[in-house]
Subunit: 494 residues, 2 copies
């Protein structure tokens, strides 16, 4: 095993990014741009997603979409615009979204008497449509979702994390009773958890939001929360039980089996393009991105290492190797660029986080070997060509496990418990999550937030993978009686 | 073979639609709604696409997307909004789109000094981004596309055909020279032609638009035109050579191999959700839709025909049959609804245009047979169960061929030639396309349009499948010299 010379390449240095420890924010912005994930746009608060970022998003969409369909959900396409009057129908909803709305007040040359808003979320217009489609309990459940953009004004924007336009699916379902609706809410939350853990290698905490952190108009909001490498939390997906709030506002009612009239129980749930931010900030390091292998746009990059007189031959051999890997269903790229050094290529693909690199040179070819390097490791391995090909799927699984374990260790070692407010404050200040008892009063949560910038991320579920132990005690800040049967997870957040 | 009793079913009559010959427009609107393709929305000019319509659109997206990627195109995601100032940079472009724009003048509580528009198409913002990404000829070509919604005000709206918000891909490419750009334009036009003919069973005429019908800002616009069953034309896809018009407006330039500065040659191309309108109006009949089998969301519907005491068993047998068909990669639905008659089900799936129906009853089961009916035929066939399963893929291909042949016959028999204006007017009035010589003067084209409502659809290409014969003669209206080496295709249009 040899050290990776490419990292010392001069040209590559120009390609480098600010170390995470120097400035995590700069690191993030530089990685997004230099790895060709996204670029700033001339539209305030909106980004342009470039091909590498778009390919990542497409993989995310495909995995989730397949699973939604497998559990009987159907896609629909609702308008991007919503009549302003709809937003104001559900009282909490308008309070939550009014400050963020994009208003369309002119179409062609016509000034509109009632303006439209660009959807911040679609509960209202979907409720309106459901009212027309729903007659009997036989029509239920409605298991609907759509993929698309939503629009919420953001003052300080950051690619993927906070953009005025972002991309998501929004799931919307309607059920005959509360029990079935709550089961749906939980099923989707669990799906998100599975997706994060088993596909993205992201450990996340499943829990219920406190009242202050609920979705505008929900009876109960559940979230998955992940920890970024600066210790902040990122809410990575949400699932809401909306009770009959939107049904009452939009008259979504049906005749029950017993011939009574009843309002439907509805849910909504979403994962957005923020999840790309979570991937970047959970797995990335000072060399750039590390793409979790099961979602990576490119899983293996093959670098033909030749000189002028044999470069074409090496490219050909590289393509042959790539074809064998592709035959296993792997996503493989051969870097055929000339005019850039091998070191430049190594660093470029490390920056882009491709999980495995294979170098193939004339002497390797002769010896029947290839040089293999995992993105997260400093070491190169020289392997028999056939062995490298045959072991690639297992290698990628190993990288997945390594990433998940590293992220889990990081999260656990940066999550403390506190029973007094001094310890709490300091632990937050030091960049940790803190598990603490809380009285559940919104004013007390607000006081903590104003003081420490930390918010209640969620209260872990009984069967959450992390932090689920039952426990009780007085509120860490005000000393009032604890409101939950567990410690609440607090942290600063994106 | 027996006649289809279902069509006489009383309950089904309530489900019927206005015959095409009575009112084609009513027929269309009723089919769209009753087949659950789309519904009206509370947003002026916008529709809601329901699950059956969305599944059709997803199949269209998947086929095209795979082909775009196979020829090296990369997807990106650009913002939905465009600064108003961008639209005005290309003179023809603003003239074309200004009357149709959706204006956003307020975000949150902030009134914008410069408003945004919701994209009517994205040449301008893409040009702006390209200017930042393009340096050298080595960076070219850019082969980009995005899927999304666009927004153009429509006064008289009609689901899929004319909606203020519609869905499409827009392809945008930039090249180092005109020849390569024109080859791209042609490649994508040919792909659209292949998609229409070989997947949607739609015969279309490939040709170049006259100057009056060009895309706003294009040097040359090519289209595929299909004939609907009322004799009108539907422009089903377009591909534009934009020359250096947008490059100059947005400063998209690069250093050539010879170290000179040069503007890129750009193209754009699109198929939109209108294509669903083309499918409906080319293949549908008085019983409803006929879905072309290769794109149909459901290719085969299995109807278990049982009574109370054996319905569950028939459903089970139906699922078994469906599983065997699905194992061939076919999209199959088993209609398990109880509480509706078999006749109702037959009519419901005929309305929805499912290409093949299989009925499975207890006596069929005993005899080892099933009853098979093609959507477009009145006849039922009783076939051995194994034979029906084994022959299903070939049956679907046969239905594709039948649909394409029927549509081609219809188009050819409703396309006349005219060498004098009286014949021309009458042929248009009778609901035909007319092939005629034309002087190429925009004023003369406008006079024809004002008089007959017919426009120049396109001038067929030399290797178009239809109407490509070279021919010359004086203008059918003004007698001036013919401007093209072929007859121009005129018709009324959607």
């Amino acid at each position: 095993m040899t050290k990776d010379g490419g990292r010392q390449d001069k040209k590559a240095q120009q390609y480098g990014v600010t170390p995470q420890s120097t400035d995590f924010n700069d690191w993030y912005n530089e990685v997004v741009k230099k790895a060709d994930l996204a670029d700033n746009s001339p539209v305030a608060g909106a980004m342009v997603v470039r091909p590498y970022g778009s390919a990542l998003w497409e993989n995310i969409v495909r995995w989730l979409d397949t699973r939604f369909k497998a559990t009987g959900h159907e896609s629909l396409i609702f308008p991007t615009l919503i009549p302003m009057g709809f937003i104001t129908k559900e009282a909490d909803h308008v309070e939550g979204f009014a400050p963020e709305l994009f208003t369309v007040s002119k179409i062609g040359t016509e000034e509109l008497a009632e303006p439209y808003v660009m959807r911040p979320t679609s509960e209202t217009i979907i409720g309106h449509m459901w009212a027309g489609w729903l007659n009997s309990y036989r029509d239920l459940p409605f298991l609907h979702y759509q993929w698309g953009s939503v629009f919420r004004a953001e003052l300080r924007t950051k690619a993927f994390l906070r953009t005025s336009e972002f991309f998501w699916h929004e799931g919307h379902t309607a059920h005959a009773d509360e029990q079935e609706a709550r089961a749906e809410v939980r099923q989707q939350l669990d799906l998100y958890h599975e997706f994060c853990r088993d596909v993205l290698a992201l450990p996340v905490v499943r829990g219920e939001k406190t009242a202050s952190e609920r979705f505008a108009g929900a009876v109960a909001t559940y979230s998955i929360e992940g920890m970024m490498r600066d210790g902040k939390a990122l809410q990575s997906g949400t699932s809401h039980y909306l009770g009959q709030n939107f049904s009452r506002a939009f008259d979504v009612k049906f005749q029950t089996r017993e011939q009574k009239e009843e309002y439907a129980h509805t849910t909504s749930w979403a994962i957005s393009s923020r999840i790309i931010g979570a991937i970047i900030m959970t797995h990335g390091d000072d060399f750039g991105l590390i793409m979790p292998p099961r979602i990576a746009p490119i899983q293996v990059v093959v670098i033909p290492v030749g000189r002028k007189d044999n470069f074409d031959q090496m490219v050909e051999e590289g393509e042959r190797l790539a074809a064998e890997l592709r035959a296993q269903g792997l996503r493989v790229k051969v870097d055929k660029r000339d005019g850039v050094t091998n070191g430049f290529k190594y660093n470029d693909w490390e920056l882009k986080g491709v999980p495995v690199r294979i170098e193939l040179g004339p002497r390797d070819l002769e010896a029947g070997v290839v040089v293999v390097k995992n993105r997260h490791s400093d070491e190169k391995e020289t392997l028999g060509r056939a062995e490298a090909v045959a072991g690639m799927a297992a290698r990628l699984d190993g990288i997945h496990d390594w990433l998940l374990a590293r992220a889990t260790d990081f999260m656990l070692s940066h999550t403390l418990t506190a029973d007094d407010y001094g310890t709490f404050r300091q632990a937050i200040e030091d960049g940790n999550w803190v598990r603490a008892h809380h009285c559940g009063q919104p004013e007390c949560e607000k006081a903590i937030k104003d003081d420490t910038k930390a918010t209640a991320r969620n209260v872990p579920l009984d069967d959450a993978e992390f932090f689920a132990e039952k426990d009780s005690g007085p509120c860490v800040r005000c000393g009032g009686p604890g409101a939950y049967d567990k410690r609440v997870m607090f942290g600063r957040q994106y």
